[in-house]
Each structure stands twice: as structure tokens, then as C-alpha cells.
Symmetry: D2
Subunit: 361 residues, 4 copies
């Protein structure tokens, strides 16, 4: 039986950290062919010269991302571009019938108003918002399968939503008391010349930023409210508003999130016999038992970003604090893999019906 033809993929805006990781993942993926890589900054340079660390030699040369030439290069396009810019590429590509995976924030929100509130500009392509699917493999599998435009989730949202959504769905937490405290490695700031992210400014430095209103709150709250109400209702009706503080810490890769939940008093009452921690375990096990990239830590350990570095896994653990009736849930991901490029490939695997782990181990 002849091997089926590989699927052609073009990566647009490949010179950043997510773009580089996407390049690596596509090159190693048995079903994908890297058709083209674009970047205005590195146009004309060989892929292997720009990314010395790639696993193998290719003949590819960075090109400048000019529509309509770009459209012809592939069937699948992965956009690793800044928000606001990505939408401009997505429009003609979607119009031409291409599959588009956008790693920016441009299509994550259902509401152009919320986009404007959090990103400070009018949405560049509001007509496409309805078409886009929030590309969380664990929570929107069916929609991804039939999507043409996938909005890949943000890194912080991934680390927060995966531990929180099962609790929302199970109705065991007090909705207006959610607090998320995250630490991120510096690759989250992107590969751009900025004094704030110089080695000397970040090494031996621990600091919070974007307090109290980081942009990612918009998609986190959207997805929490969607899971609560079952619809992408108007944001003004949204009942869940959370506190979220991101911190910058001196590692290259990784996001660690600590979540504080007030358990619903009735759930605590109900769980008296088994214990709250066990009852929570059951919820997580039921939700994620068959998910290939969710590692529930039931062996007494806590998440550690070094255990997920370079991989598409998320680690989740939970502890009940009987002194305060609070549940503490902790998660760890690689912000560039599960938090960006790996999760995008996982969604692509779902869309094409391949095993979800293809090319990701």
C-alpha cells in the first residue's frame, strides 16, 4: 500500500521562539512536510543558519510572507505572528479554503468588544470570530475536528484552564473566588530586543507584571464562563471574574500556576466520608484519564516545570487545606510546547484524525 502523501504546512512568522519550536515539530512529524517558512526579519537566510539547533538539514530558505504567493505554498498554515498582524494573514488564507492555526490572540475571543478592551485596538477581522474554534484539545476536540480556523490557546490560559475547567464543570467551587498565581519563563516575552528581558535584568530577578489586568484574563474568563453556562454568552453576563498575577522568573521555559479555590460548602459536606482531596481526585481522573498529555500527579509529588520541559505534557496536582477549606491546585507546562506550538500540533493531529500524540513524543 503506498504511503499517503504528507500534508504540506507553511509557518508564517517563524523567527520567534514559538515559530522555531513549530519548525522543529513539523520537521519531526511523520505526516507533515514543511513547505515554507516566512519571516520578514530573516527572509533570504537559510532555515538551518537561523535555527542552528534543528534536528536535520533542509533546503528551506526563509521567504517574505507575501500574499498571494504564500497561499500556494501549502494546505495548512500556522501563524506565529503578533496579535493584530495575524488576522491580516488569516483572512485571505481562510477565504482561499486553507486550514489556519493561529498562535496569536486574534481569534481566541468570541467578542470583538472584549478584544478591544483587552488588546486596546479594534478587532482586525471581526467577521471571522464566529468561524474560529478555541483550540484546546482537551475541551474542544469535536469543534477542532471540523474547524477551518483554530485559535490556539495562550500559554497562561492553558496552565489555568486545564486545572480549573473540571472543577467548574463539576460545580464544586465558588465561582467568584478564583485566584490564579503564575510564574513564567522569559521565552514567554518573545525574541525581541528589549532591555527588560536582557539576561542581566532577568537573572536573579523575581517580579510580577501586568498587575492586576493581564490580557490573558479575557480568554480565561471566556472559557470558564462558557463551561459554566454552556454558551458564549455576552461578556456582561459573565459571572466568573478571576484574579490572575503573572510573574517573570529566570528560566527559559515553563509556566507554573498555583490556583486557589474556595470549595462549595455543600461539596465539602458531601465529601465528608471520602475526604475532599479524594473527591477532587475522582473529578480529575474522570475528566483526564484518557488524555495523553495530562499527567495527574497522584504519587505525592507536585508539578515541576523541569518535568515537562520540551514536552507537550501538563502536570496537575491538588491539595485540600482543611484549615481554610480551600483547594490548592498546581500545574506545570512548557509555555512554548503545550502552551503554544505543541498544543497547535496536537490540534492539527485531531483535525486530520491522526493519533493525538503523533510527532509529539
Amino acid at each position: 500500500m503506498p504511503r499517503p502523501t504528507k500534508v504540506n504546512v507553511t509557518i508564517v512568522g517563524a523567527s520567534g521562539y514559538s515559530g522555531e519550536e513549530l519548525t522543529r515539530l513539523v520537521l519531526r512529524h511523520p505526516e507533515l512536510e514543511l513547505a515554507a517558512v516566512t519571516s520578514r526579519q530573516t527572509a533570504g537566510q537559510k532555515l538551518n543558519d537561523v535555527f542552528q539547533a534543528l534536528p536535520r538539514k533542509t533546503d528551506l530558505v526563509f521567504t517574505s510572507p507575501e500574499i498571494p504567493d504564500l497561499i500556494k505554498t501549502a494546505d495548512v498554515f500556522m501563524l506565529a505572528l503578533p496579535h493584530g498582524v495575524a488576522a491580516g494573514f488569516a483572512e485571505p488564507l481562510v477565504a482561499a479554503g486553507k486550514k489556519v492555526f493561529d498562535l496569536s490572540a486574534d481569534f481566541r475571543l468570541r467578542s470583538a468588544d472584549v478584544y478591544k478592551e483587552f488588546y486596546g485596538q479594534d478587532h482586525p477581522a471581526p467577521a471571522l470570530l464566529e468561524k474560529a474554534v478555541y483550540g484546546s484539545p482537551e475541551w474542544h476536540k469535536a469543534e477542532i475536528k471540523s474547524a477551518q480556523l483554530v485559535a490556539c490557546p495562550g500559554c497562561y490560559p492553558t496552565s489555568i484552564l486545564l486545572p480549573t475547567l473540571p472543577l467548574i464543570k463539576a460545580g464544586v467551587i465558588v465561582h467568584d473566588r478564583i485566584i490564579a498565581d503564575s510564574m513564567s519563563g522569559v521565552s514567554g516575552a518573545g525574541r525581541k530586543a528589549d532591555i527588560d528581558f536582557l539576561f542581566v535584568e532577568c537573572n536573579e530577578s523575581l517580579r510580577a507584571y501586568s498587575v492586576p489586568k493581564h490580557r490573558h484574563l479575557s480568554e480565561i474568563e471566556q472559557e470558564l464562563n462558557f463551561r459554566l453556562s454552556g454558551t458564549y454568552s455576552s461578556p456582561s453576563d459573565a459571572s466568573i471574574k478571576i484574579s490572575f498575577t503573572p510573574h517573570l522568573v529566570p528560566v527559559n521555559r515553563g509556566i507554573h500556576t498555583t490556583l486557589y479555590f474556595d470549595l462549595d460548602p455543600m461539596f465539602i459536606e458531601r465529601s465528608k466520608l471520602t475526604g475532599c482531596e479524594k473527591a477532587i481526585s475522582a473529578i480529575y481522573q474522570e475528566t483526564y484519564a484518557n488524555e495523553p498529555f495530562v499527567r495527574l500527579l497522584t504519587n505525592g509529588k507536585l508539578p515541576d516545570t523541569k518535568n515537562v520541559m520540551g514536552s507537550n505534557f501538563i502536570e496537575i496536582a491538588w491539595r485540600f487545606d482543611a484549615r481554610t477549606n480551600r483547594l490548592i491546585v498546581l500545574s506545570a507546562i512548557d509555555n512554548i510546547v503545550k502552551g503554544a506550538s505543541g498544543q497547535a500540533i496536537q490540534a492539527l493531529n485531531i483535525m486530520y484524525g491522526w493519533d493525538e500524540t503523533t510527532g509529539l513524543h
Copy 2:
């Protein structure tokens, strides 16, 4: 006028990170004479050979800490020993009329029961608990002045109490909703051979530990409740219980704490005109305006541990989140200086009536 004689200081258990920092600080202090340094592990070795980085040469040699010889060496003793061990030295030293600054947890708690609950062993010298003063220069200045036994505060408690106590005192926060999320550098784990704290195990690693009940909760809650009620009441009456999660992150020095408070609705109402953030600013300014080591960030900046590294400062900033009616307060200290040895010297300066900053800039 002849220069008054210097005060003799002996450091007991000097071979760890806090002991080394104490040694440096005492050597640089214009009013102090380093009389002796003890350490079982390094007994017989020259001080300058063990601590190559000291600012100057001394003739001192590490000795083994044997009572009663030890007692004769100085008037002031600083104990940089593990909890449980420190008390055994404090007893004869206090009995002999010496001034004792204990950097361990042995005398921080007023209740031997709470000590047992959190440290898992009977208190080794419960009779001394009444004599001890919690050595927070900003909050127990008068007691320190007349104390003989000073229990120097823990590192996490320092980073949490200084931002929280003014709010408790002012009565503007909901007491049972306090959440403290901290990150600490690895020196907090001490200089001991332990695989968990090897470079390779900590570098590129972000992880929580001691969830949900870290030992430092005991002194944090004691001091919060003391400030609330005005007495060291029985712990069972204590109305404040907080959530606290420490995280280990790959820096040598520094603790960064992010605190989440629910503001009292009446305070929010009262502050409508000025705004909550300004009203909170007023509280902090009033409390700390004359404190030489509290740096209130009113210039739009957020605390960063690199700005306090090697110094006795604490940086504090605050933001009101109108979306959730929460107040986010952030702090940064050097865990070994303000969180341990520097704060001890500051307390000693207070006790002897010197300028609080002597030897600390």
C-alpha cells in the same frame, strides 16, 4: 572623647548562608567586634578559608560551640542554628545574662502547643517563650529595645507580615480571605548536601512545596492575630487563618510575595472619592514613612528581588483590582539579609540605641 569600646559578638553555627552573611555584617559593623565563630563542621579551620568572600582578613578560627567556654567569648550571641538545636544554646546564654538573637524558629511562637503542631516536636525550652520578643524592627521596636532574647522573624513571614500588618491594623481587609503566594531563592533551603537542591535539580525548575501547611504559617498567623486583637491570645481563638504557598525558583537570593486581599466593602465605599489605591497608599505611607528599610514603590514600579539583593530593604507595591474588588500587594526582600541576618543586626542596632541603619548600607 574616647571612642566607646566595641560590643563583642559571637556567632554560633556560622557555616550556613545566614551565618556567613552575619559574619560579613558583623565584620563591617563599626560598633561590633566579632569575638568568635563556631561550627561543628568547620571547627579548626580559619574563618577566611571557609568564607573566601569576606571583606577582610581576620585571625579568627572556627571553634566547636562548647558551653561553658562559649559563654565567656562575648556579650551578644547570634544563633544561626537549626530549630530545636538553638534553644539548647539559648538557655544557658540567657541564664548567664547574655543578649541572644536567635535566627531559628525556636522562640518565634508564644505557644508551645503551636510549636509542637508545626515543628513536630515538644518545645525544648518552653519557659523561655515568655521572655522572647518577636524581632520585627518595624512592629516590635519598643520590645526589642528592652529584650534579652530576640526571636528573629522567618524569611517568608517578613515578606508577608510587613505588607499585611498595616492593613490589619487599619481594619480595611476581610480577615479570613488572605492568600499569600511566595517565591524563594534556593539559599532558603540552607547549605546542606541534599539532591533536591543540586544545581541541576533547581535550574530551569519551578515548583511549589509544603502545600498546604508550611511551618511559617504559625508565626505569620500569630503576628496577624496579635495585631488584630492586641494580645497573644490562645491560638484556638485566633480568627485569622491564611493560605500560603511557597515556591522554589532558580535564584540564589530573594523572596517575592504576592498577596491577595478582599477589601472590606465599607472601606471600598468610604474610599469612593479618592479611590481605593490612594487610600491604601495613605495607610502604607503613614505606617512606614520613617522606616529606613521599607521602600514603598509609588513610582509605578513593582517590586523586584534584584533591587533588594544584598540589602536590608523590603520593597512594597499595591494595586486595586476594580474588577474583583481585590487588593493585590507585592513585596520583595533578600531572604538572607532582611529575611534573616540583616534584620537581626537591625534589631541589635535598636537594642543598643544606635542608628537603625548602622552597618547595614
Copy 3:
């Protein structure tokens, strides 16, 4: 045609960094089956609990490495044990006809005398020295193919020999003027509880060690002299003695080596027309053009350990300094992959006739 059965591999002493990497590589290798993993420290624990970061779940549990039970577990044994200990396992395994890849130094030297000089103890199994092959895939391919006992090269030697051997072979450098200056990440020190390798002791620290006679000099000089003379002659005849200084620097992974060579005056004369740098390029190209894991940097770049991290590549670059007539050659490897476990798998691929890159991309 039925898929041939996989080859069973047992890893002995798997709880260190090289052992963990071996475990990962064997689990991902399409032709290998991980039969057993042993470790006295972690015996009885699940493989996935000890190494949380493995790419997939296995049923394996660490066992205690007891001969003769051990012998039955597999056809191939990889020993990730300390020197001195490894030989004790190799003897019965070799006697039982097993293939053995030893990652320790026990079988790298042809001379038991040199072993004693550099390792300070009598060789534990001198009779096996003749049987062992120095497992450098690029320089002993034929011997590896037919070997039963492969002594996998040390990390520093790999980073030094690969750039130096082509120049020795080509006869273009002055033999008694070779200087090798290396920097290594802390994983090179192994996963053992030792204060010297604590995070705080290594972070923000740059230091040399084992000056001037590091153990790895023995195998480096053996292989250089072998390439020069064509035989493993008596060490006393060896004409090449080099200077080598290793440095410990705060990274997890990676060795960077800078080599200083005096070019042979006749070679400089001969190369006047093309230039020395081009003439050297020709030598490297000729030697390594077909080697899948040698990346010759001809694009103006210099080696960087971050470009080889987690991979089996070595990067090599060279510069001629016309001011001093010296040639500077630089290399970078991942000490745990190309410098240990990856190179072992590469040798195993050669032995079994598989593509050399199998399981290594």
C-alpha cells in the same frame, strides 16, 4: 515481512543523569525494548515515579542489580555506573556473551598502568581491556561493529578528540603544543548529594577544577597518540601530552571546548595560497562530510551549547590567528547526550547495522 523482534536492553545504574537520558533514548528507540532498569537507591520504585519526565508510561519498576538474575533480562546491557564498579558487572555479562556498553571510564584505557595512575586504584578487570573498543562512532566504526564490549568515551574527551583527531591525522599541528580549555555544565558532576554542586554554590560561579591533571587526560592522550602512531603503544613512548583545564559553569547541560594549536610551519607555508583557514576547512570537510552528528560551522558562526542541547550533535568551528600562527578550534556538545548516552546509542546503532541516527533525532 514481519517486523523483526526488538532488541532487549537493560540499563544498570539508571538513577543518575546519564542513566535517565539512556532510559529516555531507549524508550523512544524504534528497535529497542527497555527490558529492565536497575538502581540500588531507587529499587522497588516505579520508573515513572523516579523519572517523572519520561515521554510515556511503562510498567517498569527499578530492581536491584543482582547477578545472575540480571543476566537473564536482556541481550544488551548499558552500564551507567561509577568507574571501579562498572567493571564488576561487565565481567560476568561479557562472560555470558552479552553485549555491554559501559559509560564509565573502566574500559577506555588500554593500559592498566595508566588507569592506576589516573584513577588511583588497580584496574578491577585488566583481562578485559584488550577486548574493549573505544566507542567513538566517528573514529572506531569498524571496531564497534564487531565489538562485544564498548567503552563509551568521556564527555570532555568527546569534545576534544573530535576536533583534534583530524588535525593529528593530517599532520598539520605541532604535537606538544596542544591546549584544551573546557567549560562544563553541572550535570557532569552527577546526581549526588554534595555541597559543592548545590544550586547556590554553582549559580553565579565560574571556577576551574582538577588543575592540572584531570582524569580524562588519560583517554584523550591515548587516542591522540593512537591516531598519531597507529598503535596503542606503551604510554611511556607517547609523544603527545596536552594541557587541559576543565571549568564548572552554571548551566545544566553542555560542554564547550576551546583548543589552541600551533600549526606546523610547513603547513602554513604550503597553505599560503588558499589560506590556512581554508586548508583546515578542507581537512574537516573531508573527515566529517558524511558524519550525521558532526555539524561543521562554515557560516561564520561559532559553537554554542544551546544549539546542541538535548541532541547528539557536536558543533565545530575554527579560526586561524595570523598574528600568532595559532589555530583556534571550538566545539560544543551536550555532555549527557553526545558526551555519554546518545553516543552510546549511536554506537549501538552501528553494532546492529541500523542507521546511525535511529532513535536519536
Copy 4:
């Protein structure tokens, strides 16, 4: 007796790492008054807002460095400006009779031709070259005392010259065989927005740069030849040319240098009785016994940058390799303190006749 008036110091170009350290050192110096700080980038901002980590509050505001206003601000000027720019400030300041300490490379070389060769531009003020003194406190003390224009040595040169000059002076090494291999922390690259020095590009990265001809070779060779010949002879006569390779490693602060010397055969012969290492020790002891900032390691230890971090010390150790007749000498400094700002203050102390260590412990 009234306290003598403090000396006014203005720092020009204070917004980089050396400028910040100078600011800290001047603020802590008992004899100095910080008169003004200038920086085009931060003009108008408060000193304490830009450098949050300063030890105390000041009223100073950054000004724009405009001659002639600048001239009036102080008696001493410290220039922390890029090479090429510094000379433009030095000229009018020197003409106005001010004392100038230039931390750039502009006045380190006696020859404008060598400047052009290594810095790629005509010297901007060649007439001043004769007036300038190379500000190495240990080697040009007398000249510094009477100088008006002090060219503060570069960071790498400091780490190389201090260990090498005693050996040149004693005539015990082969002059044309000197090799210097250095590692530097990232602060050496300055505080400028450049992708190459982002945290993610430097962390977990080890790499060489400027191979084989770094600019600092010019001043290193000038000073070595001066010490050899006794005059700043024409560079074409210079008999010493060295190999020097700088490496960038992921620490904030610190330079570690490893030097390889071939000992003069007659010296080896002469030292047969005492041993070469002891004979070398005598040379270093004789040279540096009274130098307050040279720490000769005679206790079996090797230099470690963490032992000099934040201090003005240089650590030096040496080992004789009888296998190769080479001497290995190692040194460690803080590149921003002893390698820049601290050494400048030390020179200023000498010029004003204060104790050399004033303000530096």
C-alpha cells in the same frame, strides 16, 4: 577639627551597569559627594527611580550631559561612556583642569595607530594620549598619583595583566607562548537592547566570541610589552603577542581567566630544589603582599567568581604541570567592580592620597 570638604564627583553616562555601580560606590564613599549624574536616555528622571537598588535616597535627577554646564558641576569626572564618545567629553574637561577617570577604551592605548587597528576608527583626541595614565593601581600607582587623565583598564585586561605582569617582570616565562582563555558574565555586554544578550539567548548557553582578535588584546599586549621593555615602544617592535579567547557564560557578574605559560627552561632548572610552584609563589607574594585587593590563594583553593562578586578583589592561583612544563595561572574578578568601577575608585583614592580601600569594603 572640622571635617574636610568632600570631593565633588560627576558621573557622565551613568545609565549602564558600570555607571550604576559607580553611582553606588560614590554614594557610599565617605570622602566623595555625588554632584551630578548624566545620561541622555534617562535625563529628567530621578536617580532613585532609574536605579531602584541604590543604598539611599538622593535628590539627584539625571541631566543631559551638555558641556559647558557639565564642567561646573564637579572637580572629578568619571566617564562611563562608549569608546569614541568618551574622548569628546574628556577633551574640554581636561582643558578646564578637571580630573578625569575614563572607563572607556579611548585613552588606554599609547598609540593612535593601534587604536585605529583595533577600534576601527581614527582616534578622536590623539593629543591627549600622552597625558593619559593606564589606571592599574597595582602597576601604575606613582603615575596615577600625579595624573589628570586616568584610563581605567578594561575588564578582561585586568583579569589577565595582574596574574601575568609579575611573571614578565621576573623573566620566568616564554614570551611568545602566552594563552589567555576567559569567561565573562553578560553584564560585560552592557545594558543595551540586543537580541544576542536576551535571557533566553544566554541562559543555558556557552559560547566564544571575537575569535581570534578581541579589541582588548591591544591594551593587554601594550602593557605586557611595556613591562618587558620598560618603555611604550612602537608597537611594531613589540615582542609579545598573545592568544586570547573570551567566552560568554550565563552569570551576571564575573570574569574567570585561565592562563597557560611555558616556563623558561632555565627557571625550571633553577627551581629544581624548591619546585616550580613554590618559586612562582615567591614571585607573586613579593609582588602583591601589600596590595589590599589581590587575594593570592595559597590554601589549595582555586579562584571562583562568586568569591569576588560585588567586591574589588582579584583572586589568583597557580599550578605547575610537570607533565608539560607549563604553568597554569587562574584569576577571578567582578568585571563591573575590579574590572571597571571599583578599580576606578581605587585609582581615585590613590590620586587623592586616601587609603586605597576607602569606600570599597
